[in-house]
Symmetry: C2
Subunit: 311 residues, 2 copies
């Protein structure tokens, strides 16, 4: 993220899981609903920029969901449809919605999947490697010609089981977007600032640490930016909040091409805005009804949520 100032935007490639989720909260249950990190990311980013999705689904994946993604302007040329079942995830949230248990996980058609990008994708200036094995993230990155900005996510599993592959990947990822637990595990530091300093020594020049209902901290060089989460009276389903945050961030950056410090701060607020809508309903339901006007309105609410006078 060495460049700065307004530049031309462009298409955004995302690779990651596309899944069918079953989600249980204390209040309700949503069986067999649209899920997956790449799905949430792409839907969020599609409010800002042209998105090109890379992933795999089974032959059971609902055509209606594919249609909806296409109607959102998401290019699905990179989404393979393989014989078999789509990835399945079942999770249950505690009363404290910051905590959830995975009740079951089936990789299904994702097992053995090797992402291959359509030729047109390789020229895209923006790419996001959502949470999948670092080996697969690397494979995608290798296929990109010369992306202007590479963002990535990861998870505890890869930090613990694929450390070397992840380390090699991180040296090629200028923007890492992970949550606080992952930041602690990756850095070995409990304190979030020290964790960030360590991670910025691993390759990324910019780091966004997602803290759920407490918002996001952004570290780059010696600069720190803190964005709150939007205070909601009701969180129906936190699933995908982090992925839609990343989607909003990368989508805004891809749309504007503005990766200056000020541009990135705006992108973080847009990401927070989209994430705040995501959790208002199960799965991607709230995003289906969302408009760009809704987003702009809540962006202004973030301004009033955080503004105070200079001394």
């Amino acid at each position: 993220m060495a460049e700065s100032g307004e530049e031309k935007g462009g298409a955004l490639v995302v690779v990651g899981s596309v899944a069918i989720d079953t989600i249980e909260t204390q209040a309700d249950r949503a069986p067999e609903v649209l899920g997956g990190a790449a799905t949430y990311f792409a839907a969020a980013a599609s409010f800002f920029a042209p998105v090109r999705m890379v992933g795999v689904v089974g032959s059971d994946f609902p055509e209606a969901d594919l249609d909806w993604l296409r109607r959102r302007g998401i290019d699905l040329a990179g989404l393979e449809v393989r014989a078999g079942r789509t990835m399945r995830w079942t999770g249950r949230y505690h009363e404290d919605m910051n905590v959830r248990d995975t009740l079951s996980f089936e990789a299904n058609v994702f097992d053995g999947y090797l992402p291959t990008l359509p030729a047109a994708y390789c020229e895209a200036p923006y790419v996001f490697l959502a949470n999948i094995a670092p080996e697969l993230q690397t494979r995608v990155l290798d296929q990109m010609r010369s992306p202007r900005l590479v963002g990535a996510d990861t998870m505890n599993l890869w930090i613990e089981t694929a450390r070397d592959e992840l380390a090699a990947l991180l040296r090629r990822v200028p923007l890492l977007i992970i949550n606080d637990e992952e930041a602690r595990l990756l850095s070995g530091e409990r304190n979030v600032v020290r964790a960030a300093r360590r991670i910025l020594d691993l390759g990324p020049t910019s780091l966004m640490i997602k803290r759920g209902e407490y918002g996001v901290l952004f570290f780059s060089g010696n600069s720190v930016f803190s964005a709150p989460a939007y205070p909601l009276e009701e969180v129906f389903d936190p699933t995908g909040a982090g992925d839609t945050f990343a989607g909003g961030v990368m989508g805004y950056l891809a749309a504007t091409g503005d990766v200056s410090p000020a541009g990135i701060r705006k992108a973080i607020v847009y990401g927070s805005v989209v994430a705040s809508f995501t959790v208002e309903a199960f799965s991607l339901e709230r995003l289906r009804a969302l408009t760009r006007d809704d987003i702009e309105r809540r962006y202004r609410q973030f301004v009033s949520l955080t503004s105070f006078d200079v001394a």
Copy 2:
């Protein structure tokens, strides 16, 4: 907090505990150091406004500490010195410094203490009822002539054991400053926004919910303000962070008399600034060396920590 705009400031009365603490962290231990909610509050507020302290200490209380408080311009006419031992508290912080255990507590001279205000205190326009039994907080409030702004804190113990007295007090407290755990217990709501709505039905028109390293949420009418905590590489001792936050808030409000929404937001940031210094060393050590310039410098860092462009 019905008034708004710039008004004349004035003196700030605080009542609460004055104690000798023994603090253990994972890294270090500070035996028999200055502590107590009123002490932290008064020291913080004294950077902004004239403070008048109400409390009790034993004959063992260090003269050097009294001298330091006086040098900070804190009026100690309301601080009784009784034969016996000063209140003692011993606490141990977990590796996660958001969690601590009380290892021992002795009320000592605080046992049976009934706060009585020097006549001059009763005219003060600002008063803060730090965390003591609601019955004692009420007793102090009853002695105030016609305060312009009343702030208060409380704790789980009183919410659980003195609910009625607390409820009666809250109807007379326009500004409540408590932490998230207390807000949940007081409201019976886990969600912080719903908790705030419930508490604003109990009497206070303004509510600040302290969330430790995650900052503060401020609720008043339909307005919400989110202030982050200052991201620190090292938190040595979180003791007194909440009390110095409240001290900074009330001190700034007392100094300026500006209880407008904009004035309160600035006060919250000043409170956050002082709290961020407090945790940089054991006990009140960091505040002993603190200057108003340090405070103004960090206030500007809060501006850069939180600023982003309007869309």
